[in-house]
């Protein structure tokens, strides 16, 4: 009689497992009630999570903003396919060949055009250290180069007004030039200052005293951020009515991102013009350093044939290293094995950007992780304390039929609810934080809050809630109901 009847009740207990789902909402409700009952304590507990989540989101927004700014700038200066060949000092072991080192010349240009299959464009550049003047004003442009028309595509320039000089202009060494808006701003006045846009086509510009005719002008290059800010200011000015005019927004606002300012402070002239007007006669000072094949080294009027550098465009980034090898081989032969040149690729720069971003991400992640850890410990601490306060409650719940699993889930849910609330508040806070940082940030790389970052941060807060709740939940679930009920 005592052994046999142990079976039937199994049927009467067949249902309980089904209640898990119904129970969860009740449990979450109980958790919220518990948190609400200790508002201040709960808020303090959440602080760690709030900080962790908001710093994680803000950090990632910051890095994202920098990344975007850097990439924009990279595209603005010609992209990753660009390779620059620059002269360098002859290496020590080749010093005895110094007088045979000719530097970078048009020979290299023709050889590369003929032989380097992986190079799609070759753009020779002859730098002219220049002071320009016009309209009674003077200006030192950042770039004043003699170039081929191909320089336009090479450096991601477009012509907004007038035209680019062509092969004929180059052939005839005409005194024409194309300018960027910064040159225009300095010599004829910026639109912000004069209230209208001046397009100085046909005007005369003196480069180191030599008169040139302006035949074309680039558009105003700026970062997306600057453009938005400028358009906003414009719209506001329009809304305000009259005040659309001069003396507004000087300095940083107009110059904007440095990279873009440099690009705007450009003057291009035909390569031959630069050579004829600014290089002739300079060679007399240094006999023996020139006299490369093809360039007559005789006569009174001799011109330094050396280029300042070459800009090359490679077929694609994927073949960059092969292309560099090819370029090197060709240049080694034209330079008779003398290594008086070197390469600069944007890849180094891109690499640096990536490295920087990785580091920023890592340190940001570390800060956020530490905050979340501290937040988790805070939650665990409070949950443990609250369990000692609630021994009786747990005993009562067990006496009316709560299983150890029910108690475990209850405490775990409470912990997760605290963490989730903290996470949500943290997400809201992160927007404020980003605003704050954006205000201080000297760059134009406005932080960008992304959905994945928010999701990641939020998921972390949930995980922290779960991890922090496990120990207290186990402790609570293990409480002996009798001991708990004796508590008085």
């Amino acid at each position: 009689m005592s052994a046999a009847p142990s079976q039937p009740p199994a049927t009467s207990r067949a249902e309980p497992p089904a209640h898990a789902a119904v129970n969860l909402w009740t449990t979450i409700g109980a958790g919220l009630r518990e948190i609400w009952a200790h508002k201040f304590r709960s808020l303090l507990t959440m602080l760690g999570i709030i900080l962790g989540v908001s710093s994680l989101v803000a950090m990632s927004a910051l890095v994202k903003g920098m990344e975007k700014g850097a990439k924009e700038a990279l595209v603005a200066i010609g992209g990753l396919e660009k390779v620059r060949v620059e002269p360098q000092n002859v290496p020590p072991e080749q010093l005895h060949l110094l007088d045979q080192a000719v530097g970078i010349t048009m020979n290299d240009v023709y050889a590369l055009e003929a032989g380097a299959s992986l190079v799609t464009r070759v753009s020779p550049e002859m730098r002219v250290p220049a002071t320009v003047s016009a309209n009674g004003k003077r200006f030192r442009p950042f770039i004043c180069n003699g170039v081929w028309p191909v320089a336009l595509e090479m450096s991601e320039h477009v012509i907004a007004h007038g035209r680019m000089f062509n092969e004929l202009d180059d052939e005839m060494a005409r005194s024409v030039c194309v300018i960027g808006t910064a040159t225009r701003d300095e010599l004829w006045g910026a639109p912000e200052d004069v209230g209208r846009e001046i397009i100085p086509l046909g005007e005369t510009l003196y480069i180191n005293g030599v008169p040139f005719t302006v035949i074309g002008m680039f558009p105003h290059y700026e970062s997306e951020q600057d453009r938005k800010a400028r358009e906003l200011a414009l719209a506001q000015a329009a809304a305000a009515g009259t005040q659309a005019g001069p003396a507004r927004d000087r300095g940083r606002g107009r110059r904007g991102n440095f990279i873009f300012w440099l690009k705007n402070a450009t003057i291009y002239m035909p390569l031959n013009t630069a050579w004829m007007k600014f290089r002739s006669g300079m060679s007399l000072a240094e006999p023996g350093r020139w006299g490369s094949p093809g360039t007559p080294a005789t006569g009174v009027i001799t011109a330094d044939p050396r280029l300042s550098n070459l800009e090359l465009k490679v077929a694609s980034v994927d073949v960059l290293s092969d292309a560099l090898q090819q370029i090197r081989n060709i240049l080694m032969s034209t330079h008779k094995g003398i290594e008086d040149f070197n390469f600069r690729t944007q890849e180094d720069w891109a690499e640096n950007i990536n490295l920087f971003i990785r580091n920023a991400r890592m340190s940001g992640g570390l800060i956020a992780a530490i905050s979340l850890l501290v937040g988790g410990i805070g939650i665990m601490n409070i949950m443990l304390a609250s369990i000692s306060e609630r021994v009786r409650e747990i005993g009562i719940r067990k006496s009316v039929g709560a299983t150890t699993g029910d108690i475990f889930v209850q405490i775990l849910v409470e912990s997760v609810v605290i963490a989730v609330l903290g996470g949500l508040v943290g997400l809201v806070t992160s927007f404020g934080l980003v605003q704050l940082i954006g205000g201080f940030s000297p760059t134009d790389n406005t932080p960008i809050i992304t959905a994945p970052a928010m999701l990641l941060a939020f998921s972390f807060s949930v995980v922290v809630g779960i991890l922090a709740g496990i120990l207290p939940a186990v402790k609570a679930a293990r409480l002996n109901p009798i001991q708990a009920l004796r508590y008085e």
């Binding site: 009689m1 005592s2 052994a3 009847p5 142990s6 079976q7 039937p8 009740p9 009467s12 207990r13 249902e15 309980p16 089904a18 209640h19 898990a20 119904v22 129970n23 009740t26 009630r33 518990e34 009952a37 009786r392 409650e393 005993g395 009562i396 719940r397 067990k398 006496s399 009316v400 039929g401 709560a402 299983t403 150890t404 699993g405 029910d406 109901p481 009798i482 009920l485 008085e488």
Partner: protein, 251 residues
């Protein structure tokens, strides 16, 4: 078949090498519908016995069968289910959850048996109706008198229609007048067919039940069963005449 069968149950605590026999070889049968009191001085083992009967605790030795389930072999999960569905508890200190209102307290056992929200509320209100506490349903326990709190606790104990209700000193914290009312409530529940075990140290309270079991130092010292003499109900087969000599019940 008896609702509860206790056979040679002992509960032994060890405190610093010393052996404390809170219960010593107790055998006992409880039939469905009985109204029993367990009486004895403080520290005699009444609560320990009630905890074992109520599946809150397990005996060190002996066997206990409750509604056909062998409790000493049951898993913690099964024990929780038993407490939830077959057993109701009423305590001296009411043991209501202070942060819940009265009706939420009464709903508590049903949360753990997976009753849906609406049905839960309906049943809880019905249970409050039975103890005449409907008008206090939304009050917090701290806003109620002791007697009202105990009535809420009784409603909670009854709400899942348990097979047996255990009350440990239910009047111990009430004034005599209120205590009377609570006892009256138990008596009424008994006449409605509930099985009730009343634990008390007070002979006057024990006097209301037809069957009394007196405990001393963990043993059954005296067993009075008025029902045997035909004063209450028909005789039952599971009667135990003397402490320690449990006659096996006829099946």
């Amino acid at each position: 078949m008896a609702l509860v069968e206790l056979r040679g149950v002992s509960k032994i605590y060890h405190l610093g090498g010393e052996e404390i026999r809170a219960l010593d070889n107790v055998s006992l049968d409880i039939e469905p519908g009985e109204f029993i009191s367990i009486i004895g001085p403080s520290g005699s083992g009444k609560s320990t016995l009630m905890h074992i009967l109520g599946c809150l605790d397990t005996p060190t030795r002996g066997t206990i069968t409750l509604d056909g389930v062998m409790v000493q072999d049951a898993s913690p999960r099964q024990l929780a289910a038993m407490r939830n569905r077959k057993i109701g508890f009423v305590f001296q200190f009411f043991n209501l959850l202070p942060k819940l209102n009265v009706v939420q307290n009464v709903e508590l056992p049903m949360i753990y048996s997976g009753v849906s929200g609406r049905e839960r509320r309906e049943k809880a209100m019905a249970a409050l109706e039975a103890v005449d506490l409907v008008n206090r349903a939304k009050h917090r326990p701290s806003q109620l008198s002791g007697g009202q709190q105990q009535r809420a606790a009784i409603a909670r104990a009854l709400v899942n229609s348990p097979r047996i209700v255990f009350a440990d000193e239910p009047t111990g914290n009430l004034d005599s007048h209120t205590g009377e009312a609570i006892l009256g409530l138990f008596r009424r529940l008994s006449t409605e067919g509930r099985t009730i075990v009343l634990v008390t140290h007070d002979p006057e309270i024990a006097a209301v039940t037809p069957r009394r079991i007196e405990i001393r130092d963990g043993r059954i010292a005296q067993h009075v069963d008025l029902t045997l003499a035909g004063l209450d109900r028909p005789p039952r087969p599971g009667f135990v005449a003397e402490p320690g000599t449990a006659a096996p019940p006829a099946s």
